[in-house]
């Protein structure tokens, strides 16, 4: 596999704000590469430097073999771009936007097909200003995919979309990847990053804090599996002590949560259930919780809200 984007020590400063502080990574051809991070982490700044829309203050970039600041013809004709914030003229109709943008590219895909894949058929004659937020978002995704480009940038892929649309768009993005295209996307939905991305970069305060396949990140950084249940009767004597041998125990009223030590999940569940039955303890709502990317994210970036 060859790398299609190289970012070396990228830096971007706005006045006193260091938006991107020494970020380096590579994106391989044919992968879906995700960037996640709290608000203001520097994702949009990074992606827009790669798109040639912002000028870096330091480091070097190479996209499709060229420096985005220098050669913008190669970049413009071989990338599809969805900006985090964008607009079309209020009175431009959906089909007109697709038709117009098709005329800019030599190998544009048939936009009629995209219209139905994105559920916009009923809206083809609706002016841009009259679309709902999610419909606008879908139109912009269509405009990004339309050129059938080698590389697609999607900044906040499914923000504002309902679950149906989100699933449809995940399929669409996977389709695009299966045609050998590369996708660089950002998202605030950890489930989306986990399901869709081949690799995920976690960015915080303009720095890269972790980068790997979602499963690997979870394995390395996700923490323990948990088993939670509600007690129906009072706790037998010594029950808590016995539980504590299995893992960390938290008790809130009748809710009990056990976070496993080094157990495999199956083992932990087995042990907990065996303990419950041997001590004849009545329980309900037993659930197991696997660590996920959200746990990794919160662990790496903290729980404090950003300005």
């Amino acid at each position: 596999m060859k790398s299609i984007i190289q970012v070396n020590h990228l830096r971007k400063v706005y006045g006193k704000t260091v938006a991107v502080d020494d970020i380096s990574f590579e994106v391989q051809e044919g992968e879906i590469f995700g960037m996640v991070g709290p608000n203001g982490a520097g994702k949009t700044t990074t992606i827009e430097c790669l798109e040639g829309l912002r000028q870096p203050d330091g480091g070097s970039l190479c996209v499709l073999g060229v420096d985005p600041q220098k050669d913008d013809t190669i970049l413009r004709s071989n990338t599809g771009i969805q900006l985090q914030q964008s607009n079309l003229p209020d009175r431009m109709k959906v089909w007109e936007a697709l038709d117009l943008y098709s005329s800019f590219y030599t190998h544009a895909v048939n936009w009629e097909g995209l219209l139905s894949q994105l559920g916009l058929e009923d809206k083809r004659n609706t002016p841009f200003a009259k679309l709902s937020g999610g419909q606008k978002q879908r139109l912009f995704i269509a405009l990004a995919i339309l050129p059938d480009p080698k590389l697609v940038f999607l900044d906040e892929l499914t923000t504002g979309l309902d679950p149906q649309a989100r699933h449809a768009i995940w399929d669409l993005v996977k389709d695009v990847r299966s045609k050998g295209k590369t996708i660089l996307m950002t998202t605030h939905f950890m489930e989306e990053a986990e399901r869709l991305c081949d690799r995920v970069a976690i960015i915080d305060h303009g720095r890269l804090v972790a980068l790997d396949e979602p499963a690997a990140l979870i394995r390395k950084l996700g923490g323990k599996e948990r088993v939670a249940f509600n007690l129906e009767s009072s706790m037998p004597a010594d029950f808590e002590k016995a539980l504590a041998r299995l893992g960390l125990v938290e008790i809130e009223g009748e809710r009990v949560i056990v976070s496993g030590n080094d157990h495999h999940q199956a083992e932990l569940v087995g042990e907990v259930v065996r303990l419950l039955t041997t001590t004849n303890t009545r329980f309900r709502d037993l659930r197991t919780e696997e660590p996920n990317l959200e746990d990794v994210f919160l662990k790496m970036t903290g729980r404090a809200m950003r300005e």
């Binding site: 829309l53 771009i81 900006l83 607009n87 079309l88 009175r91 005329s103 800019f104």
Partner: protein, 247 residues
């Protein structure tokens, strides 16, 4: 080329969907012509040197349309497309920046020409207007006037931060100019002092040039107008190349 055509066609549709702009470019001047035509007719009067009200109104209202599209239409469209990020989105595509701007200029030019055409047709068929000039000559004067005002429009569009400001600045420049330059109503009706002020207004030179060419005066008699409009055009282009912002 294909994208320039598509974009021009699209911008033309958008222009016509914007009721205010379309009204002041295509309908309002015609309404004025019919209004004053029905009051004064088109009989020759000594005040207008032997020409009628409609004879002198057609070139004057054409100047009015040129100023409206240049200072308002073009400026507001560009400023609002920049403010909303429409221009930024277009810049991420392979379409050339020049084509994006050219499409706007072409559409404004076509709409201004249509506005003039309606006036000329109404004048010809309703008021039997006197035209003593040379069609090619007046077309050349019209193109020069349009381009010089569009160039000013580009400077304004580069300087104003928002569409709202574009609208206010456009109105502040346009309305006094329409009254004082002889475009909105005949300069012959204005007092002497105001005629002096009018020599400082660029639109005055459009009115002079078009009125002169309309009645068959020569270009030599209007070298001052040509020089002033030509300078506006060159300065406007140079300044906008330096000042124009896409976001």
């Amino acid at each position: 080329m294909k994208s320039l055509l598509k974009m021009t066609w699209m911008e033309a549709k958008l222009f016509l969907r914007e009721p205010v702009g379309a009204f002041f470019t295509l309908a309002f001047p015609l309404m004025m012509l019919f209004l004053f035509g029905s009051i004064y007719g088109n009989s020759p009067t000594s005040m207008f040197n032997g020409y009628g009200t409609v004879d002198i109104s057609i070139p004057a209202y054409t100047a009015m349309i040129i100023a409206t599209t240049g200072l308002m239409g073009l400026t507001i469209t560009l400023a609002s497309n920049r403010e909303n990020g429409v221009l930024r989105r277009l810049r991420t595509t392979p379409v050339s920046p020049l084509a994006i701007l050219a499409a706007q200029v072409i559409v404004m030019f076509i709409m201004t020409s249509l506005g003039m055409l309606f006036l000329v047709l109404a004048g010809k068929f309703v008021y039997h207007v006197h035209f003593e000039g040379n069609a090619l000559s007046i077309a050349a004067g019209f193109v020069l006037s349009c381009l010089s005002f569009y160039a000013i429009g580009f400077i304004l569009a580069s300087l104003v931060p928002t569409a709202r400001t574009a609208q206010v600045v456009g109105m502040v420049l346009l309305y006094p100019m329409l009254f004082l330059s002889g475009a909105g109503f005949p300069r012959e009706l204005l007092p002497e002092t105001i005629k002096k002020i009018s020599t400082f207004l660029p639109l005055t030179y459009v009115v002079n040039l078009l009125r002169g060419l309309w009645i068959g005066e020569s270009w030599e008699q209007h070298l001052i107008s040509v020089a002033i409009l030509g300078t506006m055009l060159v300065v406007g282009i140079l300044a906008s190349v330096k000042l124009f912002r896409w976001e």
